[in-house]
């Protein structure tokens, strides 16, 4: 499965468009991570726990999008976009969407 955020893949031809596919996940932090983040809020600096959490969540969203694309018989997802929104305090939604296509 080819995942890309450009619309035209160099050297390949789109034979069929299959429409939009999407994947999302809502994640929240656990107490331990929250405590560390509280400390970092005083000293400043990178919140490694959060970085990892969001990266995992984004991979999960991408995976769901890819499995949806596989289900409809695509072999590539192009023009992929990511979006984040905070649902409640301490939780974030990660959303990935793109166009499922069949590439030559």
């Amino acid at each position: 499965m080819l995942v890309s955020n450009i619309e035209i893949i160099p050297g390949k031809k789109i034979t069929k468009h299959l429409g939009m596919v999407q994947g999302n996940t809502v994640r929240t932090k656990h107490a331990g991570r929250d405590l560390m983040a509280g400390l970092k809020n005083i000293f400043g600096g990178e919140l490694v726990g959060y970085t990892e959490l969001l990266q995992e969540a984004r991979e999960e969203a991408t995976e769901r999008m890819v499995s949806q694309a596989e289900a409809i018989g695509a072999n590539a997802v192009i023009n992929v976009r990511y979006s984040t929104s905070s649902v409640t305090a301490g939780a974030a939604e990660l959303f990935a969407y793109g166009t499922a296509v069949i590439l030559d």
């Binding site: 080819l2 995942v3 890309s4 955020n5 450009i6 619309e7 035209i8 893949i9 160099p10 050297g11 983040a37 970092k40 809020n41 005083i42 000293f43 400043g44 600096g45 990178e46 919140l47 959060y50 970085t51 969001l54 990266q55 984004r58 991408t62 992929v80 976009r81 990511y82 979006s83 984040t84 929104s85 905070s86 305090a89 301490g90 974030a92």
Partner: protein, 150 residues
């Protein structure tokens, strides 16, 4: 009285450690920017003309950075009179440059020589007391073009 002492201690800790951390971070960003300079990044939607025979792969890098206590208080004070919030400016600048660097690092490990259609996304993740934004997340993503070996 105790509250005041705690407050002043937090201010001092935030000022000292925040300053050291920021200076160190900027230095490391500049070093790595030089190191990854040969990987070109484009915000254009299409690869530069003449590029073919490549494999493409989605790459990304993210970072969550928090502002220190001192700067948050200063920003709060600045909110009264209005104007430029330098403390948050430097926070966002650091986060963006770091995210782009991490993306480039991933691209480099894949053997890519350029990344096209780079998008940056910013989100405020945790909100501290009184709904003050404490930390930002920046995610940079793009399509890495990896030359095919004949």
């Amino acid at each position: 009285m105790y509250d005041l002492i705690i407050f002043l201690t937090l201010m001092a800790l935030g000022y000292i450690f925040g300053r050291i951390a920021e200076a160190r971070h900027f230095k490391s960003i500049m070093d790595r920017e030089k190191q990854y300079q040969h990987i070109l990044t484009f915000s254009e939607r299409f690869p530069p003309s003449g590029v073919s025979r490549v494999n493409s792969e989605l790459v990304g890098g993210n970072v969550v950075i928090s502002v220190d206590y001192f700067k948050r208080i200063v920003a709060g004070l600045r909110g009264i009179v209005g104007g430029q919030l330098t403390s948050y400016e430097s926070l966002l600048e650091r986060a963006r440059r770091e995210a782009i660097l991490r993306m480039k690092e991933t691209a480099k490990n894949m053997g890519a020589n350029m990344v096209v259609n780079v998008k940056l996304e910013t989100a405020s993740i945790s909100k501290g007391k009184k709904q003050q934004v404490g930390s930002v997340e920046v995610y940079a993503y793009g399509t890495a073009l990896i030359p095919k070996t004949p």
